[in-house]
């Protein structure tokens, strides 16, 4: 019997503000199958029409008639999974999605290494892979400590408190969403994947090839980064332990009050002397700078756990890379056969809401064959789900979305973006972009 094939894919890109939420509807001759890729928003959207997560969940529920074939949670950032959170009452947006009973839920291997499908090599995961997962947990511990500390920030930290809070909270493990995702699919449909692993989507989407291009495991990355000499899990472990007060507690001599590593008898009785005020003020600023630098690095680590999926339907190719940055892309892009495949991409979900380093400029964008300055039938289609003013600054060339990338997307592809009101369809408190790819 010939395999059933979809005749088209309808892509709905919901306006969640800063975040991602894509519903892919594969139209088969006799039915439809629906795959939800990410469902998150963080921080609170500036656009009034954006980010009504309960309404979006109801819309998804109605669209798929109460049945999702699969859910993909690319990575743990709140702007990708916050919508999956449930409530005790059972009326959260995550409860509505759960009621759609997906057969398969795809997540990165870093979420649950022991449950990850297959294994990256004959000897399974290496110690470095396990250490990486431990490092991600340590980063979470660090974020929790940081957020506690931000309740009473030192004077003079000003706007840094907002960015620290944003990055800390965005990366913080959303327990309700994570728990929901973990058990949403039946056991055999819970897939924790890495580059080259079987996604489990092929079985539920007849006629559709789905390749997992990322995230690579540490052992995979090591294969192309021969010069990297050590894993850095220990460093993050130290940071987490330190942030949790381990540094103060281990000092001996009773430790000091307020986290000081030294006993109270060593404290200067008359406070900070006048001649030290200038240095004290600088030291406070340096600490703020240190913390910002750390949480930004952690943010990048989490982005690089993103699942990268390539859907192949007939000759059409749809690429959904989550927030994967160049470090994560490097492994897949080092493979000539993947380079060839990616050159023919028809639809590209712009990585990380248009940041400067999530759409590899030369090795990915530069190789997309269907980029075209003219509006032709086979022209590359791109989706950008974003909201400006949350990440980076134009002055430091780090704004999201990045102006130079936007310019390229606008001139060389048919760009759909959630921050352009006229592109959005609004129904029942929900705004979304709809585009049909015919196969």
């Amino acid at each position: 019997m010939a395999t059933e094939k979809p005749t088209s894919v309808r892509i709905r890109c919901y306006d969640v503000g800063f975040g991602d939420c894509f519903l892919l509807t594969f139209a088969y001759p006799s039915r439809e199958r629906h795959v939800l890729i990410d469902f998150g928003s963080f921080p609170k959207p500036k656009r009034k029409s954006a980010g009504n997560m309960a309404a979006i969940a109801r819309h998804i529920h109605a669209t798929c008639k109460g049945k999702l074939t699969a859910v993909v949670a690319t990575h743990r950032h709140a702007d990708h999974i916050s919508g999956f959170a449930t409530t005790k009452k059972g009326d959260g947006s995550g409860d509505i999605i759960r009621a759609c009973e997906p057969d398969v839920v795809v997540q990165p291997w870093t979420e649950k290494l022991d449950a990850a499908v297959d294994s990256p090599g004959p000897h399974g995961f290496l110690a470095a892979d396990r250490a990486h997962v431990a490092a991600l947990a340590d980063m979470d511990r660090f974020r929790q400590s940081l957020l506690r500390r931000l309740a009473d920030p030192p004077r003079g930290w000003g706007s840094a408190v907002r960015e620290l809070g944003f990055l800390g909270e965005d990366g913080l493990r959303n327990a309700a969403a994570v728990k929901n995702l973990e058990s949403m699919a039946p056991p055999k449909g819970r897939r924790y994947v890495f580059c080259g692993a079987e996604s489990g989507l092929g079985a539920v989407l007849p006629g559709v090839g789905v390749r997992v291009l990322g995230p690579p495991t540490i052992s995979q990355s090591a294969a192309i980064e021969a010069q990297r000499k050590r894993d850095d899990a220990e460093f993050w472990h130290i940071l987490a332990a330190t942030a949790e007060g381990g540094a103060g507690a281990a000092a001996g001599d009773g430790g000091g009050a307020g986290g000081s590593p030294f006993g109270a008898r060593y404290r200067r009785k008359t406070g900070i002397p006048g001649f030290a005020r200038w240095t004290v003020s600088h030291a406070d600023k340096l600490l703020r700078q240190e913390l910002l630098s750390i949480v930004r690095r952690m943010d990048e680590y989490l982005n690089n756990t993103s699942v990268i999926l390539l859907f192949e339907i007939g000759r059409r190719k749809l690429l959904f890379p989550g927030d994967a940055q160049i470090e994560s892309w490097s492994y897949a892009l080092s493979k000539p056969e993947i380079q060839t495949l990616l050159a023919g991409v028809d639809v590209y979900k712009v990585g990380h809401h248009g940041s400067l380093n999530a759409t590899p400029k030369a090795r990915l964008w530069g190789r997309f064959r269907k980029r075209n300055r003219k509006e032709t039938p086979g022209r590359l289609v791109t989706f950008l789900s974003t909201e400006s003013g949350h990440h980076g600054t134009a002055k430091s060339h780090t704004e999201v979305p990045r102006a130079t990338l936007l310019k390229a997307l606008e001139s060389e592809s048919r760009l759909f973006r959630t921050d352009v009101a006229k592109q959005l369809t609004k129904k029942k408190g929900v705004a979304f972009i709809e585009h049909v790819v015919k196969v």
């Binding site: 030192p154 010069q227 990297r228 000499k229 050590r230 850095d232 220990e234 130290i238 940071l239 332990a241 330190t242 942030a243 381990g246 540094a247 103060g248 507690a249 281990a250 000092a251 001996g252 001599d253 000091g256 307020g258 986290g259 000081s260 590593p261 030294f262 006993g263 060593y266 404290r267 200067r268 009785k269 406070g271 900070i272 002397p273 030290a276 240095t279 004290v280 600088h282 030291a283 406070d284 340096l286 600490l287 700078q289 240190e290 630098s293 750390i294 690095r297 160049i326 470090e327 892309w329 490097s330 380093n357 590899p360 400029k361 090795r363 990915l364 060339h397 990045r402 130079t404 390229a408």
Partner: protein, 584 residues
């Protein structure tokens, strides 16, 4: 307290202060290995707070200010070390010992630089006193901040307990070296090339490494740890022994256990690189962190070679062990001598756009000037060989006819100036030793002979008279001048010259692209120019490389070299900086 006699303190006087020899994890006989080191004597305020270094013990994380160390003084008002007989626990848990530890190491490092360079040094910021904050915050980092005019040391939870970065000798020496180098060459933090991006960190590593090897207690303990503790002897050929390399050269930092990744620690693993003449040109060593390791490895190789050479007179091919004390002594001498060569070399580097080859030519030339006879241990030959093994050749080439240079005495040295074409008309020799305007007059008079760019903005950045003392005691008087030229190009001019935009300028015709060049001038005792070590502002090929590097560095997210905190963290997590080609 005894009555203080206000007798003058001579510059040569020192006091002995106890410090942690390497770090608290290095033990001898079950006790933390400490050393008493000589630091220049001065009457100290509570802190310790001297005329160049002020210790301020404030912790940003806990917002606690620790009481400063107040010394008891002797009859002359000089500090008396209160920690001479203190227990390990007392040393570790008393922040005032930590204050003494950083004060002593920073002051000692500063004194070494000043002695070698033969003059007082300025910091890289507009203040006379370097602030040192031994417990600045809870963080696995330590760094120099020019904006904060000081050194900031973090503390953190290590695998087996508390880790204070201010108690790691190499970390303190490393950060001090950053501060000193910034004072000597402010523009070495400009984005110019991967060599320059790597140099600050590599030089600080070299200073830290050789400073530690100068402490006899450490080397003795490490040699004893090789299984020869009970004997006073050390096997012949020990320096070629694999165990020596793995335990002593590569293993010193590993003692820290859980604190292995402490930023600022010297990455000695580069020594393990076999000789690889392709390394310097290899893309694998283009990334600044990696590249810096090449320079450290080259210096480390030269150090071991010299140490071996110094042991030769003790009997080649003989039998029996070598006297351990003598081996230690020779190692400390080799380290001290090489440290002097490395520091002195900075005066002979161009003030902008440094390449490793420039540094090599600089250290060879500076050493040649102070010690013309190198026949005994052949330091210069060993340096050349060690750098060559990693593919680093001296920049100095054949004499330039355009600038009337002479042949250097040996290969790789800067070419001396042939003074016949230079005019000293109207220039006062005495004023040339201190007055930037007088030096500028000399440059102006000789702008054609020295091929200076007329259109460029020119500035004498510093005039530094030095009185150096050779190892044999002979004085060498020199004046070191830093001179820079900045040539602002309109975008039209830049395009006409075929130069790339450095960033964002291409789209904006109102912006100019600055090209920077400069020279270091070394004048002799008689005010005659000996060396003109230059990076011409008009050298378009090299300027094109620099602009391209600057553009890539900005787009590639390379931390500005002035951000030592960010640089150290990236190094700690082995964070490779990816090229700019993939960023927007």
């Amino acid at each position: 307290m005894p009555e203080v006699l206000h007798t003058p303190i001579t510059p040569e006087e020192t006091v002995l202060l106890r410090i942690v020899a390497q770090d608290p994890s290095v033990k001898s006989g079950g006790r933390m290995l400490t050393a008493r080191v000589a630091v220049p004597a001065e009457r100290l305020e509570p802190g310790p707070w001297g005329h160049r270094v002020q210790v301020l013990d404030y912790d940003s994380s806990s917002r606690v200010y620790c009481a400063p160390l107040v010394y008891q003084v002797d009859r002359r008002g000089l500090p008396v070390d209160p920690f001479v007989a203190a227990s390990d626990r007392a040393l570790l848990t008393n922040p005032q010992f930590h204050q003494q530890n950083v004060y002593a190491i920073v002051t000692r490092t500063l004194a070494t630089f000043e002695r070698v360079l033969g003059r007082r040094l300025s910091w890289g910021f507009h203040a006379h006193q370097l602030k040192v904050v031994p417990h600045a915050f809870q963080d696995a980092n330590a760094f120099y901040s020019d904006r904060g005019a000081g050194l900031f040391f973090g503390y953190f939870a290590g695998g087996s307990g508390q880790v204070f970065s201010c108690l790691a000798h190499d970390v303190v020496a490393h950060e001090t070296a950053h501060a000193l180098l910034d004072g000597l060459r402010t523009r070495f933090t400009d984005p110019s090339s991967s060599d320059q991006a790597a140099f600050h960190e590599a030089f600080a590593d070299v200073v830290a490494l050789l400073s530690v090897f100068q402490i006899p207690e450490i080397v003795s303990e490490l040699l004893a740890g090789l299984g020869h503790r009970r004997r006073k002897g050390v096997p012949r050929g020990i320096l070629g022994d694999k165990l020596f390399v793995s335990r002593v050269l590569l293993g010193m930092g590993k003692e820290m256990g859980g604190a292995l990744h402490l930023p600022g620690r010297v990455l000695r693993s580069s020594y393990a690189l076999g000789p690889d003449r392709g390394a310097y040109r290899s893309p694998g060593f283009a990334e600044p962190h990696r590249r810096g390791e090449l320079l450290v490895a080259a210096m480390l190789r030269a150090f071991v070679r010299v140490w071996q050479a110094r042991l030769q007179p003790l009997g080649v091919g003989g039998h029996g062990d070598l006297d351990r004390e003598r081996v230690v002594e020779e190692g400390a001498s080799a380290a001290g001598h090489l440290l002097g060569i490395a520091i002195r070399g900075i005066d002979y580097t161009p003030p902008v756009h440094l390449l490793f080859g420039d540094f090599l030519s600089a250290i060879l030339t500076a050493d040649q000037e102070i010690q013309p006879d190198d026949s005994r241990f052949q330091y210069r030959r060993k340096l050349l060989a060690s750098f060559a093994e990693l593919g680093i050749a001296p920049t100095a080439r054949a004499p330039s006819r355009l600038r009337a240079e002479r042949e250097p005495r040996t290969r790789g040295l800067w070419c001396p100036v042939d003074g016949r074409d230079l005019s000293y008309h109207g220039v006062h020799q005495e004023a040339m030793r201190r007055d930037p305007d007088e030096v500028f007059r000399f440059l102006w008079e000789n702008r054609t002979a020295l091929k200076l760019k007329d259109e460029a903005y020119s500035q004498v950045m510093s005039v530094r008279p030095c009185r150096r003392i050779a190892p044999d005691g002979a004085p060498l008087q020199e004046t070191v001048v830093e001179f820079s030229q900045t040539w602002d190009l309109t975008q039209r001019e830049r395009r006409r010259l075929g130069l790339p935009a450095s960033d964002g300028e291409a789209e904006d015709d109102d912006k100019t692209t600055p090209l920077v060049g400069g020279a270091t001038l070394i004048f002799d005792d008689f005010g005659r120019l000996k060396y003109f070590i230059h990076n011409s502002v008009g050298s378009l090929r090299r300027q094109a490389d620099r602009l391209a590097y600057k553009r890539d560095a900005l787009r590639g997210g390379l931390a500005p070299a002035r951000q030592f905190d960010e640089m150290h963290r990236r190094r700690a997590i082995d964070d490779l900086l990816l090229g700019s080609a993939e960023r927007w």
